[in-house]
Symmetry: C2
Subunit: 326 residues, 2 copies
């Protein structure tokens, strides 16, 4: 094994040891055996999600600081756990790295990833390191738990349910559009560079049985809503005026409707609730906005600010995204 890789593995193991102190009762065996062993209580189900992070697809080395890449890599997985109303437990990281990648980049990546992981008490419990022929490739696997039978699925939306979204939309896509023109300061586009997964909001929605269906907005509102509608066998109507558009840049400029509808990687929660349920307009400090309702049939329509309806195509801003979840 080349020295650089040996050093890297030693560093990851050290990081994993530090992080595993937090929840070692759930992960009796982590790195260093054939499998990680996870202990869940008798009334829990296990959640598993996998997500690729690819150079040139999810990030560019000249645009994204290494810490941001590590943070976003884990945030993608945590956000999927949030969308089930679950609690993350352990993370597995498979990394393919080009031979000439500076160690400092890898260290920054790991720092971003473990900082976020520590905040959610997630143990780094295993993974693989390999040499990549071209470009950085990470596959992140997050394992979580949810009380038996209580995971919030995409399939539970019913006609008459109201549609809500957390936070603001379009901020991540706006950062990409801006970076195509000029250098940006990550602090002005935090939702793109350091998205906060909505773990606590998801848990509250699940515990209080407020959400009938839920998904995270990783592909963009139009596409993610189409996933809920497809799995639930329903249609939807969205009010354009109600969609919470992100404010970005130093001037806190409001993004256009287009990135708010189709821009992905905001990692907000999109959920439905029965008409009679009281939904707070803030959960865990995060705004919750009603944006439409579930309808019978299969059509997804949007009502413009002028009151005209048209079909909302699931355009899911593929410009910067070429990965498809199974």
């Amino acid at each position: 094994m080349p020295l650089a890789e040996r050093a890297l593995i030693a560093e990851i193991r050290r990081l994993a040891k530090t992080s595993s102190r937090l929840r070692n009762s759930s992960v009796p065996t982590g790195i260093g055996d054939d499998c990680a062993v996870l202990r869940t209580d008798a009334n829990s189900e296990v959640l598993v999600t996998t997500d690729f992070t690819l150079e040139g697809v999810h990030f560019r080395r000249e645009w994204h600081p290494a810490e941001s890449v590590g943070h976003r890599c884990l945030a993608r997985g945590l956000s999927d756990i949030a969308a089930m109303g679950g609690t993350p437990v352990a993370v597995f990281l498979s990394l393919a790295l080009p031979r000439d990648l500076p160690q400092s980049w890898v260290r920054g990546f790991l720092r971003g990833l473990t900082k976020l992981g520590t905040r959610y008490e997630v143990t780094l419990a295993g993974g693989d390191i390999a040499q990549s022929p071209d470009g950085i490739l990470a596959d992140i696997i997050v394992v979580g738990t949810v009380p038996r039978g209580q995971g919030v699925l995409r399939s539970g939306a019913r006609p008459g349910d109201r549609i809500f979204v957390t936070g603001e939309l379009g901020g991540s896509a706006a950062a990409v559009r801006q970076m195509e023109k000029a250098k940006v300061n990550p602090r002005d586009y935090l939702r793109h560079f350091y998205p906060e997964p909505r773990i606590e909001v998801g848990r509250v929605l699940r515990e209080k049985k407020l959400a009938t269906a839920m998904i995270d907005t990783s592909d963009g509102l139009s596409t993610d809503l189409s996933h809920i509608c497809e799995e639930s066998g329903v249609g939807a109507e969205i009010d354009a005026a109600a969609v919470p558009r992100a404010r970005v840049g130093r001037s806190l400029r409001l993004v256009d409707l287009d990135p708010a509808l189709h821009g992905g990687e905001d990692y907000e929660l999109l959920f439905t609730a029965q008409a009679g349920k009281m939904i707070p307009n803030k959960i865990d400090g995060v705004a919750v906005t009603e944006i439409g309702r579930i309808t019978p049939g299969k059509t997804i329509r949007i009502r413009s600010e002028q009151g005209k309806f048209k079909i909302l195509q699931p355009l899911g801003w593929e410009h910067f995204r070429k990965v498809h979840n199974l």
Copy 2:
């Protein structure tokens, strides 16, 4: 989403539906939601293992039929579950594929993977599909279960324990050496092209509490034994004459000692047992051979057929292997 990828995802989902009929009670929610949901019984722990399969590292398109690549990709993960004495439950597949890869290759890969998965009643429960800039890359995640506290770890070997290995060693490395010289017929090197993970043997060893420590021989005997010794804080002595060398090729030629000691990817089980335990010489039809004993100290030595001892370096045949497990 390009048409070809749409077709591929539809095909994988169809395959997953077929395979999930087998064990749907353990995987109430598979492909089609933010996470897969796995249900385990109250007395089980969850096992998780991840393994990269990289073109040019683990396989070459000109050497390996696509079916063999899919088979080996899953076998790597199943073998890790076997090495804990566990039962596999669900598999997640992340695939990065070059744009110009023929659909027939992908179909062959999936056929190899699902054939093996169906035999072990493993559900394809999720994953990712992405475009790769260069070369095929797969990351396989296998989730399994084991009765609480009973997973066979690498750390349980004690001085005086005897060391055993299943099947034969060096067959996989011999195939690689032969392919560097000439085309081979996969049927003459089955352990390389279609290795059978030792799930049943691992389960028997765990159930009957025969093994004190266990690992699969994915990196080669010398390296895998060093992992057991390191995690257990012990040394070992191996008898060169006792190491079961594979017979390969049409002529069933015996491989040299070198690939049997250092060649990886045989996916046999290497385990230790207390001196007083009766170990059958066959389990589930697979030969079990005693090859040495665990010693105090930290040295790993090999006794040559002439009775001379020397240090056994963990050389783990890195020629064809550049992936490191965390």
